[in-house]
């Protein structure tokens, strides 16, 4: 794999680390700019990009901090380049303000968070999933966001490509919310031939300069085509509330309403296109486990033990965490006796599950503060309780 003559897509079968699979997925998706700052357990993404991007005609730069990284990514995207950064908790916090700038300016790009235990410096080398709510709400103001949660190196490769495509389709930053286990795990990764990889190109305006309005959205569409710097359109983009011309419109709420409503609707009203879920054994299930990322993977063993005890348990794995699959969970909640939600935080996504289940069934949280994966017997006990079995305490 260190053969530098290979450019672009390295089709083939590899034994590959999750972070590296993420970088390779980005390159396959057409990413040619990476601006980042080293942080465990995301550093390998930057390292790999620093080696690979120059040989595929891309640009790598290590910025001075994560505020700079996020902004450099936005700038590169506005220069017409597909761009990405990767970080972990502390850096993710530093990126929040400018993630909002990306959302407001409608800038396609990808932000990877290889989560570790927090808060603060927390557990730099150990797993966590504690940034899931920050991913949804971390920047100030109202908006909607897309966040994907891979649970294997293969999936981090696949979902990084999907993230770039979603970013272009909806003109927005997309989050890949992975974790230290998946990022540092080494497994088989299959990279398909280039012609089997779907790539969504940037949609450019066809209207001549003078007629084109950078934020005019045609009826039936959700986003405007995107002219970038140097295209001759002399565009203006701002983090201020703006009108269709892209000009600040801050005197009252007349531009705020349509803008913010559209920024939310373009994601929330396209849930069917965006949301990916994986179901396993739910057809006959009396108990459902709902989880994501590494926690969904480690739930499989206790689920097998529960099945061996005669409990019909199935898994709903959230490949897409945001936007949240309300409808699927509401429906599932009407069919089972209980839902178990293991996640490596003290109970974040379980709140959303409770909200979506709307009281139709009991929802049991299996928390973990980070630093390791779940004790399988804790998940098993929760499944037993959900099934109405007696559990010794």
């Amino acid at each position: 794999m260190s053969d530098k003559t290979h450019a672009g897509v390295l089709s083939g079968e590899f034994f590959m680390q999750g972070d590296i699979a993420c970088a390779e997925g980005a390159i396959c998706a057409g990413c040619r700019f990476f601006g980042g700052y080293p942080i465990t357990p995301a550093t390998e993404v930057a390292q790999w990009m620093s080696e690979r991007l120059p040989v595929v005609g891309g640009m790598y730069i290590q910025m001075e901090d994560e505020l700079a990284s996020m902004n450099a990514v936005l700038g590169a995207s506005w220069a017409g380049i597909k761009a990405m950064t990767a970080t972990s908790g502390p850096g993710f916090s530093l990126m929040m303000e400018n993630l909002g700038l990306g959302i407001m300016m409608e800038t396609p790009c990808v932000l990877v968070n290889v989560q570790r235990g927090g808060p603060s410096t927390g557990l730099p080398t150990l797993v966590g999933q504690g940034d899931m709510m920050q991913a949804r709400w971390g920047s100030h103001g109202d908006y909607a966001i897309i966040a994907l949660a891979p649970s294997s190196p293969q999936e981090i490769f696949d979902l990084t490509i999907d993230a770039f495509n979603l970013a272009e389709r909806y003109r927005t930053p997309v989050l890949v919310m992975t974790d230290a286990e998946v990022g540092h795990m080494t497994e088989k990764v299959v990279i398909p031939p280039p012609d089997e990889i779907e790539i969504v190109p940037r949609r450019k305006p066809t209207a001549p300069p003078g007629e084109y309005m950078p934020y005019y959205v045609a009826p039936g569409e959700w986003v405007a085509p995107m002219a970038v710097a140097g295209d001759g359109y002399r565009i203006h983009a701002t983090g201020l509330t703006h009108n269709e011309k892209g000009y600040p419109a801050t005197a009252d709420d007349s531009s705020q309403w349509p803008l913010i409503q559209r920024l939310i609707d373009k994601i929330e009203k396209n849930r069917d296109d965006i949301i990916v879920l994986e179901e396993n054994g739910l057809d006959d299930a009396e108990v459902a486990v709902i989880s994501y990322g590494i926690a969904a993977r480690t739930a499989i063993w206790p689920m097998q033990m529960a099945r061996a005890e005669g409990i019909r348990v199935g898994l709903l794995r959230l490949v897409t965490v945001w936007p949240f699959p309300d409808a699927a969970i509401y429906d599932l909640a009407g069919r089972v006796n209980g839902i178990v939600v293991p996640e490596i935080n003290m109970g974040q996504i379980v709140r959303e599950v409770q909200r979506a289940a709307a009281g139709r069934t009991q929802v049991i949280s299996v928390p973990h503060p980070g630093g390791g994966i779940h004790d399988p017997y804790k998940v098993l006990d929760a499944i037993r309780r959900a099934a109405g079995r007696k559990v010794e305490v």
Partner: protein, 300 residues
């Protein structure tokens, strides 16, 4: 009904101004800079007596003289009164977040090296909240031109102290006089590796324009520091109630010293205000360094 603000009568609120479209000055007609301005955004929000109009005019004249393909020129601003420049120029322009214009500009330049990228922003934006990006872009000799309007305070938010406020400077957050040592913007750029550093007050408009022209043509990280009146936030607290009072001050205290050691050009509340071209040297830029290194390394 007009509103009274700082003793001036305004016929429209700033917001009404912002909303006004296709505005033509009834007395003066169109302006020679109109083709470079988003005239549908005029009039601007700046106060009477503010130096920003002169700073912008000098930039636009220099840009015109530079003969750059204007479709390839990008202006990036942060937040502040100066930060509004990006919204007024008829060029590709980005109004980013407070302090972050330089890293955004870095991404633009590296994303498309054919662009001429100019950062136009305030002192608070560039060297206080954004100081880290400023020194690192200079260190890398990143291929951008930075125009920093230094009015010694945060104009936009009502005249607070920042990292450029001279010792003793009275602002809305240093009511007893500032007791922190300030940054010298030009010296900071020079010490960090800038290849071109010049400082002018807006009174020295022709020299300022010439320096901006030189900076635009200079490969690598160039800085032009513009000393500019902010009567609303700073001047009126320093016996300079009107912008014109500050220009008088520049006239009396300005001392032109080309090639001065930037470390000896600190600005106080009184005494000489040293201006001129302090640094003009040649050094491979970030992109040149990168190309050379990669060519060597990847050849093998």
């Amino acid at each position: 009904m007009g509103i009274e603000m700082q003793g001036y009568r305004l016929d429209k609120t700033m917001e009404q101004h912002e909303e006004a479209e296709g505005w033509v000055d009834e007395i003066h007609g169109t302006h020679p800079m109109d083709d470079l301005l988003r005239t549908d955004r005029l009039p601007h929000i700046w106060c009477p007596g503010c130096g920003l109009g002169t700073a912008l005019t000098c930039f636009l004249s220099a840009l015109r003289k530079s003969k750059f393909d204007l479709d390839k020129v990008v202006v990036v601003s942060g937040i502040g009164c100066t930060g509004r420049v990006a919204g007024y120029v008829r060029l590709d322009s980005f109004h980013t977040t407070h302090g972050r214009a330089i890293p955004f500009a870095t991404g633009l330049k590296l994303g498309n090296p054919a662009l001429k990228v100019v950062v136009f922003s305030g002192d608070g934006d560039l060297v206080t909240i954004g100081g880290n990006h400023f020194i690192h872009a200079a260190r890398r000799n990143m291929d951008i031109t930075v125009i920093c309007v230094n009015n010694f305070n945060y104009g936009m938010t009502g005249g607070q102290a920042g990292a450029t406020t001279p010792v003793g400077g009275v602002t809305s957050t240093s009511p007893y006089g500032n007791y922190e040592y300030p940054f010298n913007v030009s010296a900071l750029a020079a010490a960090s590796g800038a290849v071109y550093v010049a400082r002018w007050t807006v009174l020295h408009a022709r020299r300022l324009e010439r320096s901006i022209h030189e900076a635009l043509l200079k490969p690598g990280f160039s800085l032009v520091e513009i000393i500019s009146p902010c009567p609303t936030g700073f001047g009126r607290r320093h016996k300079q109630r009107e912008g014109l009072d500050t220009l008088h001050y520049y006239h009396e205290h300005g001392v032109i010293k080309h090639g001065a050691d930037p470390r000896e050009t600190d600005i106080g509340l009184s005494g000489a205000l040293v201006e001129g071209k302090f640094v003009d040297l040649d050094k491979p830029t970030f992109l040149e360094q990168r190309s050379r290194r990669l060519a060597q390394a990847l050849e093998k």
